[in-house]
Symmetry: C2
Subunit: 278 residues, 2 copies
Amino acid sequence: MIQKSMRFAYQGEPGAFSEAAAGRLNPSAETMPCRAFEDVFAAVASSAATHGVLPIENSVGGSIHRNYDLLSEHELPIVGEVELKVEHNLIALPGVTLADVRRVYSHPQALAQCEVFLRSLEEVDIVATYDTAGSARMIRDGDLRDTAAIASRRAGEIFGLSILRERVHDYDSNVTRFIVIARDPTPLGPPDKTSILFAMPNKPGALFKALSVFALRDIDLAKLESRPLRGTPWEYVFYLDLNASRTDPACARALEHLAEFATFVRTLGSYARWNQPL
Amino acid sequence: MIQKSMRFAYQGEPGAFSEAAAGRLNPSAETMPCRAFEDVFAAVASSAATHGVLPIENSVGGSIHRNYDLLSEHELPIVGEVELKVEHNLIALPGVTLADVRRVYSHPQALAQCEVFLRSLEEVDIVATYDTAGSARMIRDGDLRDTAAIASRRAGEIFGLSILRERVHDYDSNVTRFIVIARDPTPLGPPDKTSILFAMPNKPGALFKALSVFALRDIDLAKLESRPLRGTPWEYVFYLDLNASRTDPACARALEHLAEFATFVRTLGSYARWNQPL
């Protein structure tokens, strides 16, 4: 169901991992760089892009909570998912050596994924930026000879930076999972996964009761994430990923069952996975 | 059970919210500033401090995942908990106006809690630093007249900065929950809460089964947090807070029951709460 006329909005600059994720979905699609995750949602809502590609979880750093919050604030359904193996490199202007580096730029998630390496650097400031590839661009634009970025090999190529140190990520199995949002809820392929958002009354056993509707029907949970209900300390909304499509009758019945006692339930989408990391 | 000879290690500089949390626990205790959360764990492990005070969750920003990971890596028990109402201010050198500000420094969690305000600023770089109060110190030390910090009123007083804008946090009910770690597992007061860490075999219904041991005994869950099992994509460990002490027989039996089928269970501590935010 991948169409030729797709246009993928993503957060970051050319060379960002999100752009690579869009390329895995459809190598011939146009891509549209956005400054912030909010801008990806806005691009899809306004039809400036047909789809948005957003990182939702990394196997080392955990959930990208901001995107969970934005899914809740917007009404755009999830229509697909793709995984990407992440390889980080320390890159700098040609001729710069590790001894010249006084500052390392990257996205907070990338910094978190290279913690062991970064801790080994002495007298170096670690600066959080909005993007991995954007950090590479800042170094090129500012001709910053005392600064390095943590980014993909491709970001280095795009912005003319050299690799100072390859594969600086702490864990070899570093995979990021991206979701695809669209205005049209039609999944990109035959759906085998469903994401929902729900809240329960704050009572003993409430979450147990919620999970029972899936356990009693042998529906496997892929992920459970709790996020604060803003303005109400220590109350939560839950994001749940199920390994089933909502078109599957057991899953549909489980969601109806949950709605009987949840404060609210919203299905964020049933969608297909591209599950083989490149 | 609060002793006079307490020495609280905390992350940040004098004026940090963690220091204020230590002050709420025992106003006459010594405090010991540390650069990173890891250093707080190290100070307690080496007996350089009797206790460590660590933010674990904010009612707006959510969990402080790094401290969940550090609790898992270390063997230091949780012996107490305290809540603190958080009020953020934009502070700068005396005479600096909002129009002069080109850069805002603060801790990533504080930046996340002031998102609406920060988005209203134009042509201003948002820079993540290691500490709210430390950002105030950097401005004073560097005489940075184009930079403001988001920090507590007290941090402004300590480092001689003026308030440019009061209460810039997005949500009025902004509360941070801190845990207290120590080498001695004796709780700071009569325990009414227990934190555990566990993992389950990756099978359908596994989490439901884990929660059943508490639901069947009417033990209330306060918080459930999943964190990636590093090196194994899409497998998780769970951090669970129970509103019960492990000395309560029903809670003790529930933990034994969980151990029957969990991959592992570790009790991080049973402890007392100081639950009234100041």
